[in-house]
């Protein structure tokens, strides 16, 4: 009896050794690779919830695989686990497709926002390069550009969530730039102000026609000096303005170029800036405005009204302290085309669509 039991036991052990171990289904390693690929592709960022569900299923399936592996090899049956992993692979494939769609969507959104902000930046950049609106504005624009470059780098690396975050920096700096130029720009968007400037311009041209005289019209937004003879445009010259030239002059040393109706009161043939035509700033209206501003506390009591505003040479690209500058050969020509008493009207803009009106926020000016 004992011998029989021993023989059966030996036979069993022999058979156990002969039985070929069932291999782990290939779906397991495929699923592991798939999960890693999805992770690398950013599934935890773009499809957080579905990816977490996928991972939970993977963990559960791995747990079941561990259970099977823990069984004695005679009793191991990988089929149910294999089916689970096959199902998981399908789920992963679906997730992969969704991920591509989601990434494409995010990429398009980033690209669209980036292009729109680039356009806005380019416009402000171009405008502030030709029209000096303060170094602060340009510093914000430079920072916006740096942030835009960062977005481009992140976008190339397909880091869309980080790109979206960085786009906020671009928006913040562009908003700061717009805010910084708003006090100047708002006047160029104000339809009432433009109507007033337009009226001054029309009156100047009509006066030239009716009285058969020569008149000068300076349009700041266009950086142009227009010479009218008998109501007809005779000549157009490019001009340079003050460091703060697009603002209306309010006081001495504000570097602004005055706006209003003036006259040439003297001609200087030997100016430091080749030739010069002095205008009668401050006129009566400027003096009244200056006093009103002081009374209202808008200007310090110690402030002076300023003066010595000229149309002179020195170049049309230089920044003045409030004067209007032309190239030397052009002031030479203008100098002899006008006389003392020639009307000079200086306006901001005569068109509602001007270079400054497309930027900043509209806050109508109360001045003038």
């Amino acid at each position: 009896m004992k011998r029989t039991v021993l023989a059966v036991a030996i036979l069993c052990l022999f058979l156990a050794g002969c039985i070929k171990e069932e291999p782990v289904p290939p779906e397991v390693s495929l699923a592991e690779k798939q999960e890693l690929d999805l992770w690398r592709a950013g599934a935890p960022f773009y499809l957080k919830e579905p990816f977490n569900r996928y991972k939970e299923t993977l963990l559960k399936s791995k747990g079941n695989l561990t259970k099977v592996n823990a069984q004695f090899k005679w009793f191991r049956n990988y089929k149910p686990v294999q089916a689970e992993f096959a199902q998981l692979l399908k789920q992963g494939d679906e997730l992969s497709k969704q991920l591509e769609i989601e990434k494409q969507k995010r990429a398009s959104a980033v690209l669209e926002r980036m292009k729109s902000l680039q356009q806005k930046h380019s416009h402000l950049e171009e405008m502030t390069l030709s029209i000096h609106l303060g170094t602060l504005t340009r510093s914000y624009l430079a920072r916006a550009e740096v942030a835009l470059k960062e977005v481009q780098t992140l976008y190339k690396k397909e880091q869309y969530p980080a790109s979206e975050e960085k786009l906020k920096d671009v928006e913040v700096n562009l908003a700061r730039a717009e805010k910084a130029i708003a006090p100047v720009v708002s006047r160029y968007k104000d339809t009432n102000q433009i109507a007033k400037w337009k009226r001054w311009a029309t009156e100047t041209v009509e006066e030239s026609r009716e009285e058969g005289i020569t008149s000068i019209l300076i349009i700041k937004a266009n950086k142009k000096l227009l010479l009218y003879k008998n109501g007809s445009l005779s000549k157009s010259y490019p001009v340079g303005l003050g460091h703060n030239g697009w603002s209306d002059k309010q006081r001495a040393k504000d570097n602004a170029t005055p706006e209003g109706k003036y006259k040439i009161i003297s001609k200087n043939p030997a100016s430091r800036y080749h030739r010069a035509l002095l205008i009668n700033y401050p006129n009566e209206e400027d003096r009244r405005e200056f006093q009103r501003a002081k009374k209202r506390g808008l200007l310090p009591q110690s402030a002076g009204i300023g003066g010595s505003i000229e149309i002179h040479g020195g170049g049309d690209e230089g920044l003045t302290y409030g004067c209007i500058s032309l190239d030397n050969h052009q002031i030479e020509e203008l100098y002899y085309a006008v006389d003392v008493g020639t009307p000079v009207t200086i306006v901001g803009a005569i068109d509602e669509r001007n270079i400054l009106s497309s930027a900043g926020t509209a806050t109508p000016s109360k001045r003038k």
Partner: protein
């Protein structure tokens, strides 16, 4: 009587077997703490795949523990081996982390230095540009650009201080590019002014 004795001996053997297989609680706690520590040191920032490996291994150990918990005859030998492997992995990653951090820091510092050099060049050029009345409007505007570049450089330093080296490199490269563009614009503006 003989049978009763046999049953008692069997139960004792069973109790012995079950009792022997106790959960490696201390190893689990130690390994989890080691993993958390290396992650807290910023592993994800410098080697995100390593962080994932650690988390996945922890999850695998958890799954193995659940399997053993569900058994009558528990065996934690495999779990212990997995814990030992994970502890070693975490220790190796922790040991390699300072070098990775240092390399990332050096890359960020080098990028910032290059950006600073480009900004300095723009500043030097600007210092040579004419000042006061008659200054070209574009040169005046470019002063603001140089200020913006300087401000952005301060942000790069801030990122380095926060050990966000990857972001620092991206920003420094962007600053460098902008500074070079500003320098080119200043040169162009000065040449234009000379010609006038």
């Amino acid at each position: 009587m003989k049978r009763v004795r046999l049953i008692v001996v069997g139960l004792m053997v069973l109790a012995f077997l079950v009792g022997c297989a106790s959960k490696p609680t201390k190893e689990i706690e130690d390994t989890t703490a080691a993993v958390k520590a290396v992650i807290a040191e910023g592993l994800g920032k410098y080697a995100p795949e390593d962080e994932k490996k650690l988390n996945d291994s922890l999850a695998a150990i958890d799954a193995e523990l659940k399997v053993q918990d569900g058994k009558t005859f528990k065996s934690f030998d495999k779990t212990k081996q997995m814990l030992a492997d994970l502890s070693k992995m975490a220790a190796d990653m922790k040991a390699a982390l300072p070098a990775k951090k240092e390399a990332a820091k050096q890359a960020a510092v080098a990028a910032m230095d290059a950006a600073k050099a480009a900004a300095d060049e723009a500043k030097n050029l600007l210092a040579k540009a004419p000042k006061g009345k008659g200054t070209a409007a574009d040169i005046e505007a470019l002063k603001g650009d140089v200020k913006g570049v300087d401000d952005a450089l301060v942000e790069v330093q801030g990122l380095i201080d926060k050990e966000d080296y990857a972001a620092a490199v991206t920003k420094a490269n962007a600053v460098k590019e902008k500074a070079a563009a500003v320098a080119a614009q200043i040169t162009q503006a000065m040449e234009k002014a000379k010609k006038k």
